[in-house]
Symmetry: C2
Subunit: 266 residues, 2 copies
């Protein structure tokens, strides 16, 4: 495999850009191809079969672009299609946000009790519970769906009074719970990291950003395979619909502008 | 046509139940069949061609159930597939929320300036602007997308502090505008009617609930055609996915429980 080859990152929509942000920070020399399936978002309300089918179409697209690694930046796909994508990708390593977030949370020396927040679909699927139990069958897990946070992030209200009240209301579920860490189980949620930190500042709770975690895992895996790129850093961005809306929102998620979002039908 | 035949009402999801509520209030003797396309919601981000195709599938389903009238309780379908549905429905009258809301707003004696709120998709489509201009080319229109209101309604936060602050923030756009009426251009928004009224109470602004308007139009049209049902009142409810979630939310939208939501693939 080629060191200069890009890393493929995909999500059902825009949220995965928070993963791109962390990967660019951890691996500034890597070339990145992002695909956001904006025509078919949200995946969370679709059947597993449909989600697998979409995820494999995207995997094909990325493999045609000769990626050296695939990062699944979508919790729904991580929960329902991870194995199928790895099978389709053959030798190409596939990392996903659920495994990455879980691994990072479990690496914390104390983990008697883990909190998880995510969309209704992610929390309802119990995918984090299953992933955490694979590491440790005895750990206590408290999870809470926070359906308002995705639309809040897309409206750009991440640190105003309304955002603080909504975060406060959701995190009230954890007030009487002695959680050691809180997994942000949705790629939109890192936009609320400061607001969540302010809400939890009195307590020693580690906030696990699965974007940071998957970026760290990607760096370790590329190093292990001697596939780190010595001199790249390009970023190509594809969506399946409404590139302009994506471009408008992108700066908020990525922390920088995207000059040229291309539309592609799979 | 048969007086006992049901009225068919459909939406991309659950919002259309606010229309059902008004139709049941205005026409308690009518039998109603509702279809919510919960597998494919939201329609607003899909292309017009796809929305038309879905809408015609639903029209077919309703016609197989021998409906005597079709009410389009979805702003996206009203904007992009009204004529196609009327063509497919032949002699069966088809009413839609955009025409109904616009007609009701224009019936107000003073209408120099109309406000419209709706989803990003509805406001972006300018469908209300076109419908209003057909009545009156000179009227001023101020519109505002309120993307947080749909998730707020589905979370059940329609009259708490958070809802009041969000409504206040959105309606601030109309503060310096002398609007005579405000069209609630999304079937979720009637759930915020009281909150919106409180926000606007100092000003003589008529709030136009397109659910009320379409129910009134339906009653007039059935009376004109001598098709009013003397003795019905049944309600059948179909969705394309997740009937349980629909059932949970339904009470909030309809004001009463739905005993038996059936799932159907079109």
């Amino acid at each position: 495999m080629n060191k200069e080859a890009p890393i493929g990152i995909f999500d059902s929509g825009i949220g995965g850009l928070t993963v791109v942000k962390e990967v660019r920070r951890a691996l500034p020399n890597e070339n990145i191809i992002y695909f956001g399936d904006t025509a078919r978002v949200p995946y969370g309300i679709k059947s597993e079969k449909v989600v697998r089918n979409y995820a494999l179409q995207i995997t094909n697209f990325l493999m045609q672009r000769n990626v050296k690694m695939i990062l699944i930046a979508c919790n729904t796909v991580s929960a329902s299609a991870r194995d199928e994508i790895q099978e389709a990708a053959g030798d190409i390593p596939v990392l996903d946000v659920i495994s990455a977030g879980t691994k990072a949370a479990m690496a914390w020396p104390e983990h008697d009790h883990i909190g998880v927040i995510g969309t209704l679909a992610t929390i309802g699927s119990e995918a984090y519970n299953r992933a955490i139990r694979e590491y440790n069958g005895g750990v206590k897990i408290t999870s809470k769906a926070c359906p308002m946070l995705v639309p809040l992030a897309e409206e750009g209200w991440t640190d105003n009074d309304i955002a603080r009240q909504i975060v406060h209301r959701y995190l009230a579920s954890f007030e009487d719970q002695n959680i050691d860490s809180l997994i942000l189980g949705c790629t939109h949620y890192p936009l609320f990291k400061e607001t969540i930190q302010q809400e939890l500042y009195r307590r020693k709770i580690r906030i696990v950003d699965s974007g940071e975690s998957i970026a760290k895992m990607a760096r370790e895996e590329l190093a292990r395979r001697q596939l780190l790129n010595p001199s790249g850093g390009t970023f190509e961005c594809y969506v399946s619909d409404r590139p302009q809306r994506f471009q408008e929102l992108a700066e908020r998620f990525l922390g920088t502008e995207i000059p040229n979002v291309q539309i592609i039908q799979l």
